[in-house]
Symmetry: C2
Subunit: 452 residues, 2 copies
């Protein structure tokens, strides 16, 4: 009896495998990969260069190779696809579900796409792909697969099971069976379980479930994810504007969407401008990090220019300079907190939304509470240590104002970005910190100048 375990990529295995690969010993390579899941082989490929990967994928069964190609990281896959022939791409696409096949095709030039589709043996799959290629990647149409199981509302359970047996050959996971009429209009669903529990001659129309949630092709992927999560669905049917069933989205694809969106958001919040990982090249990493650092530097230089107006003040009261980092840091922290809360509630589009005004009033209240508490603490500490009432007053007033303004900025910036169709998470990153640094300086030096 074989043991039920996960494959672990050990140093020993890797070293042995490298030797076999160097000798291009196809037979031994295949033997060493026997019984290993394609997802594990994909992880293994990340240890090798494109040429070696192509060799490995080439000697594996087409079905396994297709799975690997599906799982590969976008950038590595893109390099891979450039190196292999059109007929090889067609061979792999043949083994993939239509949604995965379309994702793959979208990575090669238009002309080659057409050649690949022309080479496919199955006309049905070619039709599926042509249909899917027209949708954007980030809407329901771009996520859905054409493979699904449907039953006519006029059938009996036994007719239906017979038909499922036929259709199931091409569908890797069944989930629900969708119930349609003669015009393919979606009417409901029926679970396999329910069919197993019913008698053969029962009519589908008597037992199918009317309560079905579907999405239209143009719905954004985030909303698809939220709907599936809200209604606890494993798969959701996709209909066109006329209610005709055109595809279905499965939950594994939605899980990928959620993971990707979270990563995108993290990158925006940390000021990384393109999708990089720690093991990318030094230059790729530098390039991804420079743009926002540059914005920060420009903000800093503008700040320097602004402070220079107060050069005379600083000569007389150099103590004024001491509290610059306190003010700018607090502005940054408050701004990011505020924008992050707004981004969170924007993402949750199902919730009932308060009006902009009542939102801002509430933000103001929170800011006043926090501003007063922080200002009192700082006033106390400064007066105890410097025993200079003027500077304690200046810093406290400036701090309070900065908390208020930064809260306001942090709240409206993501709302404005969202209005213009820009990802509001951008406002939780260096963008807001830079803006708030400048604002903090203006407030602080104006207050200081006025009080001294």
């Amino acid at each position: 009896m074989e043991e039920v375990t996960q494959f672990e990529l050990t140093k020993e295995f890797l070293e042995k495998f490298e030797c076999l690969l160097e000798e291009r010993d196809a037979k031994s390579i295949l033997k060493s990969l026997e019984g290993i899941n394609s997802a594990d082989i994909t992880s293994l490929l990340y240890e090798f260069d494109t040429e070696e990967c192509i060799y490995i994928v080439d000697i594996l069964e087409d079905k396994v190779s297709a799975e690997i190609l599906k799982d590969l990281d976008d950038d590595i896959r893109s390099r891979f696809l450039q190196e292999i022939s059109v007929s090889e791409v067609a061979r792999y696409v043949e083994h993939l579900d239509s949604d995965d096949g379309a994702d793959l095709l979208k990575q090669i030039p238009l002309k080659l796409q057409e050649q690949v589709i022309g080479m496919l043996k199955s006309d049905e799959k070619a039709g599926y792909l042509l249909d899917l290629m027209q949708y954007d990647e980030d809407v329901a149409g771009g996520l859905m697969a054409k493979e699904l199981i449907k039953a006519n509302i006029n059938w009996t359970v036994s007719q239906c099971i017979e038909e499922i047996r036929k259709q199931a050959e091409n569908v890797s996971k069944i989930y629900s069976v969708y119930v349609v009429d003669d015009l393919d209009k979606l009417h409901g669903k029926i679970s396999l379980k329910k069919m197993l529990l019913a008698t053969d001659q029962t009519k589908i129309s008597d037992i199918y479930d009317l309560d079905i949630v579907s999405v239209e092709t143009y719905l954004e992927e985030l909303e698809v994810a939220q709907i599936m999560q809200k209604y606890d669905l494993d798969a959701i049917p996709v209909v066109n504007a006329r209610g005709k069933l055109v595809g279905r989205i499965t939950i594994d694809d939605v899980l990928d969407v959620v993971t990707e969106l979270a990563e995108e958001e993290r990158q925006m919040m940390s000021g990384i401008s393109s999708d990089v990982e720690e093991d990318d090249s030094v230059w790729a990493l530098s390039k991804a990090r420079l743009p926002w650092l540059f914005v920060g530097i420009m903000g800093g230089l503008l700040g320097a220019y602004f402070i220079s107006f107060y050069e005379e003040d600083l000569k007389v009261v150099p103590m004024m300079a001491f509290f610059v980092p306190l003010i700018t840091a607090t502005g940054g922290n408050v701004g990011i907190q505020s924008s992050s809360l707004v981004v969170q509630s924007l993402a949750n589009r199902n919730a009932f939304k308060d009006s902009l005004l009542s939102r801002l009033v509430k933000v103001l209240f929170v800011a006043v509470v926090n501003g007063i508490i922080l200002a009192i603490i700082v006033f106390g500490i400064v007066i105890l240590s410097k025993s200079d009432q003027n500077i304690a007053m200046t810093v406290s007033i400036a701090l309070f104002s900065v908390v208020l303004l930064a809260s306001f900025m942090g709240t409206i910036t993501p709302l404005i970005l969202d209005k213009f169709g820009i990802n509001p998470a951008l406002a939780s990153g260096p963008f807001i910190t830079t803006a708030n640094d400048l604002m903090g300086l203006v407030v602080y030096f104006s207050v200081a100048h006025a009080l001294y």
Copy 2:
């Protein structure tokens, strides 16, 4: 024929509903909720206070109420559970899958938990719950449900389908059927599809799938999510240390885990110290935001104390103060970028890890490249505008050093936190900004003092 649409919560509906609720008109309330999915009723409840919610849940069917209770936000549910009787809790738990039932029970005091379990009609469910209560919430055991479908390896397909019909009554979603031996040890799985396609007398042992990935009860939830995502699984069986099948985790629960973890990370990155939402009370929001603001303030005061050592220098060259925000902001930005990349690769535990040394060497390279580019830009701009070579030199050298040091700090902080079992995302928030502000000031004033 009923239309297939999603329910939309309109102002009109809400107003009408509020009237019915005020009159406690149970019959009309039930009528207006007819045909509405329980998930939509849950959204509706957020518009009302606890007492009103209890009324609505009370008049609904137990099955629907149980679903609603399952879907409610943790804090609202907790308030709700405090107000209803033990027997009511038992009635709802009766209708829930064991994993959801256990989540609910964990929110009430231990003594009441035992009372609820004692009141359950089904001994099987009571046993399930007692078993599940022992696991932490964030490991596989805490995520799994006891309800699953299993088949003995010695059965035939027809025996198996018969048994599935029986078991399916208690299992809401089937996915795979797990194949076990007489001791309940997991041997493999078999899909419903495969069974539908096989003849009745085929032996399970001849057609079942040996290639099955399972997890042990103590595995962390993030790792469970990653394994399911990697192998593209809808459900994963959970085994105990002896390989005995004890439960299964379904992908909808994993989707919730991924969403929650992403939200937790966002909060850590934005310095919000507890799970709040924009529509929480002013005081709840203030309280969640104050701790990290306080840390920032303390950092700022420490910075002020540090700058005060250079008061004499500042009197002579007030220009030194101009570039403080530039230096601290760049330190913060670089630190967050670095830590965010480390957090990302820490989260991806499947990947082969480079050694700490090679990691740091790479970080150093990226920092040198970015540091040089930024230093040159700043040197050029400062010298053009101030035509003071000394200050241009000081700022550039300090900037370069800060980029290097902040990269280093941003890289090792999350690694250290992770070693101590603390969520490394903490290092991408105000923590690193505050530390880097201080470090930037030390570097900048030391360089300035030396050069002037």
